[in-house]
């Protein structure tokens, strides 16, 4: 499975929603995290690949659209019947006769929801309903568009844990859109950064982190005292309440952490912080200071 996007332009009326100029390739087994603020073009990209928006350009793949599975940002089903019948019609199978489907239903603890109508399900149950059917498709390429948005912390954690475990060891390619970057840290090996319909960068997650953040980042509160303490180190763009220091090697990392420990300052060390990587990638692209609103 390989999918290549070349010279893609999507317009909504006169507005350019997405413009990809450099070729962008998704290979078999890739787990691509698609990030960007609202209106960046993330969902538009997925819709283009699925062929449900008009676009100019080329999307080259050996996959037909019906061999791609997708969890859309908004998934609605009829409320005229219990979920079981909707599921059986969509998957063209019977729950009672399909062990794989029963396994998934059990895995996502959906048994009691089967007799309910879709509009009677909670937000998390609705997400699980679609995920079960998407996973049953067992497609070479699967999209998850904000699969955990609107869920409480605990439900989100549990859902992601199940998704991570389910796809562990599988060769299917995934494209995951999320505003929760820690989810992408768990599930992806590549990152596509979009902003205002343009590609900021795309590539291996670790390589991108090193490109924009160095070996690792040390993050701590941005109090005046802390900032004064860290004045000699290279700082990265970060949320306004935090200071993020970029370290290039082990020696520098030890120096920074020792300084923070000596001054009893809480800190967090990361070599895959996607949020800070995203901020600095944007800064590098636009050549300006990125400020959090």
């Amino acid at each position: 499975m390989q999918l290549t996007i070349e010279n893609l332009t999507v317009k909504y009326g006169a507005d350019v929603a997405l413009q990809i100029t450099e070729p962008l390739t998704i290979c078999e087994g890739d787990r691509v995290g698609i990030i960007g603020s609202n209106g960046a073009g993330k969902s538009t990209l997925i819709k283009s690949i699925l062929g449900i928006v008009n676009y100019q350009g080329t999307i080259r793949t050996d996959l037909t659209p019906n061999r791609m599975a997708t969890h859309m940002q908004f998934n609605e089903y009829t409320d005229a019947m219990p979920c079981r019948y909707v599921m059986e019609a969509i998957l063209d199978t019977k729950v009672s006769k399909n062990p794989k489907l029963r396994e998934l239903i059990s895995y996502f603890e959906f048994e009691d929801c089967l007799r309910k109508k879709y509009n009677k399900l909670s937000g998390g149950q609705k997400q699980r309903f679609t995920i079960i059917m998407v996973m049953m498709q067992d497609a070479p390429l699967t999209f998850y568009d904000e699969v955990t948005s609107g869920l409480d912390f605990e439900t989100r954690q549990k859902l992601m844990e199940k998704l991570v475990n389910w796809y562990a060891g599988k060769t299917s390619s995934l494209c995951i859109v999320s505003h929760y970057y820690e989810e992408l840290e768990q599930m992806t090996n590549k990152i596509l950064i979009l902003d205002k319909g343009k590609v900021i960068d795309y590539g291996d997650k670790d390589r991108l982190f090193q490109k924009y953040c160095g070996r690792s980042v040390i993050v701590f509160d941005a109090s005046p005292q802390n900032q004064a303490l860290a004045k000699d180190f290279k700082k990265l763009a970060s949320p306004a309440h935090l200071t993020a220091v970029s370290v290039k090697d082990e020696a520098e990392e030890l120096a920074v952490t020792k300084l923070l420990l000596d001054n009893n300052i809480n800190f967090r060390r990361s070599n895959n912080d996607i949020e800070i990587m995203y901020s600095n990638a944007r800064n590098a692209y636009y050549g300006e200071e990125y400020s959090h609103e």
Binding site: G51, V53, N54, P65, A80, Y85
Partner: protein, 261 residues
Amino acid sequence: MNDQVQRKKFSLSLLLFEFRNITGNPYVHIFGIGLPVLMSIIISKMLASQIPDAGILSTEVTAAVLGIGAMIPLAMILIGYAATYSQELEKGIPQRLELFGIDPGMSIISRIIAELVLQVCAFIIYFAVAVLVLGIKAPTVQGVIWYIVCIGVLGIISFGLAHAVSMIFKKFGIVYCITMMLYFCIMIASGMMGISYDMLPSGIQAVSRLLPTTYITRDFADIWLGKGYNFMPMLQAYLFTGALSGILLLFSLKRNARKAA
């Protein structure tokens, strides 16, 4: 390598799904079954108060029942299906199903079959009331076959129009308004609203002649009772409305087709 499940083009589960889906729509029961039954009873009672001769009354009631029967596909499919489908379109349900690999063509075929099955159920109830309560005249076998064919084709034409209008306008409010207007205009022009075809202005009569419902309302009692009938004008009306419905349906499908990568 993934062993992705390839779904069959057509499945019984999809047909059952569509049947459950349309029966869950209250418009279908109210306008498609309740209203025609109620109207046939009211009009028959009115005729009974005006026609003293039992033989003539029975023929007139039969004509009225057969004519009002044409309301069933219009109400059940033209209005009812358009209401359901446009609401589904607003929610993105058809697209969601397509993304799960359900072929839109097969989905439409399943919907047509489900609508026709429900239409048969509605006619069984309708004629049960007509026979048991209103006492319509017994038909010839040929008359029954012609009625089934004419109503069935009218149902398919109504489906094409309802699906096309829904896909073109997509919003429930607009679609409901258009189909309701079409429904009442067809009823008026076909002589179902108290003014018969002969009493309509000549301009409206020209439109009436293009509608199959005009012939069902005006002439079907003769066919029902096995009398000789020139089918050509009715056939022309079916061809005209069928072509119109088909063209609109193809246009709407083409306009909304998914782009292949």
